[in-house]
Amino acid sequence: MTRNLLIATLFLLGSTLLLGYIWVREHYVLSARAARFEGTLLAHGAADYEQYCASCHGLVGEGGVSAGAPRINNLLVTLREQNRLDGPNGILAKYGSVTNFVQATVTSGVRGTAMPAWSNRFGGALRDDQIRNIVAYVSSWWDESGNPRISADAQNVAVSYRATAEAVALAQAAANTPFGRGQVIFSSQCSACHQLTSADSTIPAPGLGGKFSPEGNAAFGTSLPNGKPATPANFFEWVRLGGAAFADQEIQPNAGHGPFIIQAMPAFPNLTDEQLADLLAFISAHDRDGEVTLPSLGPDGQPLPEQPAETPASE
């Protein structure tokens, strides 16, 4: 009994001392843990940036990789040069800081450009905390000196990443056929989200392979996500108006696909009839495996006449 009393006293004293030790260190540990977490968020932001943004804005935000995306790794200087920063209608007056401006831009998109609204509140693919992480990563590039805080190695990697993308686009543009022109449009406007196979991308966006074949693509079959049959006219309407116009007519994707957010499909009001026809010619030629085995369709839904001399061979 005395032994039990002794043990109890000793260990209660031990617990008190241990808690005291933890309590004294807690101030330091809390801030270290918070800094650790901040670092994790920056790393998550970087990973999300590469997944969602780099295909247009470049690996290190140098811009111009696709869809005319601007350079974003030096915004403090470029915005000042463009006279958009100061003054009564400047970004600082309206948004308070460039970071807020970028966050608002990523959240709600830029009308009339390929920049979609990314926030899931507006039909995009990202939660607001993911957007905050991405913005934290992007804004950590900016330096008043005009030299982005990016390592030389990262800049070299970005150059080769971009060169590969450009070489592919140039090779495709060489073939001046509906298929070739469609390929260029697809890689600048669509390929950031969509693949031309059965596989969904991580955005998430459905794979488009075989969309205009008799069995349709894997995710939605012969229907468009708005429930209409995949005819050329419905396809043009879908791409022009985007998913937001059909938010109330959503259909469920096939088993094993999705969930997709219908509003995540941005509107492309600036594509001309000819461009849409070229896009159709390119997409319709691909089967579910991503191979070019099907005939290119014209806007009337009939196969286009063969153009053997200029149609590029399938890879």
């Binding site: 043990i7 109890a8 270290a32 918070a34 805080r149 190695d153 990697v157």
Partner: protein, 529 residues
Amino acid sequence: MATQPADRPNTRQRLQAWIAEVGRSFFPSMGMQEWRSILRGEPAPRPNPRMRVHSNSFWYHIRPRSLSEEATAWYYTAGLGWLSFYLFMVEAITGLILMIFYVPSAAEAYPSMVQIMTDVPLGNLMRNVHRLGAHLMVAIVALHMLRTFITASYKPPRQFIWVTGVVLLLVTLFLSFSGYLLPWDQLAYWAVTIGSSMADATPGLGDAANKLLRGAVDVGQGTLLRFYLLHIFLLPGVAIILISVHYYAVRKQEISPIHELFDNVPPTRRKIPFLPDQVYFEIAVIAVLTFGLIFINQFIWNAKLESHANPFVTPQHTRAPWYFLFLQGMLKVGDKFFFGLLLFGVMFVALTVLPYLDRNPSRKFKDRKVALTGAAVATVLIGFLTYAGLASYGIQETATSELVFEWVPGEGEGKPDHVPFDLLPNQLITWDSAANGRQGGFVAGDASQLSPEAVALFEEFQEDVEYWLKHDKAFADAGGSATLTIAPWQLDEQGQISLKKVTLQLFVDQRPQPETVRFISRTKDLPAQ
């Protein structure tokens, strides 16, 4: 006549009287004298005043005046029931503290978890104790049931204690499982998505049951609130009622005597008085266990918080909590309805009515060969099914997914994370497992600048690729190889490297596969505890 000065109590006497009064309010019928004699270790006088307290106080009335020496033998019960209740109290106390800061909404749950870990003093400790305590409680309650079966304590007149015990095991499992979702991170989200999809298999009602549980088609805000209310209100309420019934019945029937298990062990009549022996023993155990819980959770174990739940990204090696792994294992054996739901249900119903089915009145080991063999087989089977539930069992692991999981995982830590940040390469460097005639070697960058730890890291990478070339035939047949690139990426305001990028690229049939990247932050080296 004037009052005699001697009649007035002096300060010391008044203090003593006050202490005695306070003491009586905690220990009715026990005066200073009794307490002194207890502390001095003197034997109790007759009649024993230490017994009166049990009749006069609610809290002491719950506990028996004395326990038979047989029942307190550690090798008999191992105190597993007592330990379960201790852990239940630990969970209740830490849970109440966590509840102050936790917000049960899909948008706020994760930020409030981060707040508990990075902004609330001792918050991380409370969370660790709560989480480890939950794991321990499931294990101990399960062991408690196993012990009760082995010693045949469920036999008449104690059948009903067993029935409440089985329900309590179920309640414990679901208490732990409902708490699993609350951090709202990837681990929670996908473990619960898998677990709750079992309800799908209910014949006819699968869809409705699933929606009732999840509040929607997918795990979301509705599920979080339902699980929260189950976790803090319904299940603890049921547990408190059942524990009361369970313990009342144990008190009433007394703990089953150990001598009934053997042929030639005579019963002992020796008793251990509750006051003071048992009380001091229990206080000592509580002190040691509480110290142990704090120590382990401060220095040895730390509950992880993965990134925010994301329905669009399924992490690799998603799996149910360990105590439901046997269900996942059963699903690999057969279909969802029969092996998942029916077998689980039949198993629990059979366990519940077991004392009424078992017609063998003897508690002796030698008369229960069938029952004991059955228990051993069932334990081995559950152990095997748990092992079968692991991702590594029965599913061909592929080099492509396992190399990603070990080197650049989307969640948790990859092997490069274990090297201190400054010792990771400070210039871009690439290791190609196919270089030097498949011996592996650096193909880009200056290897002379590397720290020994970094070189060891790349050599380990080579070993891993060669391991998978041996174990994944398809990968080997396609002439698979992999490159690992580590590059400094982001700089901070002082021009110091703040992020490094690890890129894994696999080659199959000479064709490059999509790259997998992972960013490593300098802050990862800061202490977490």
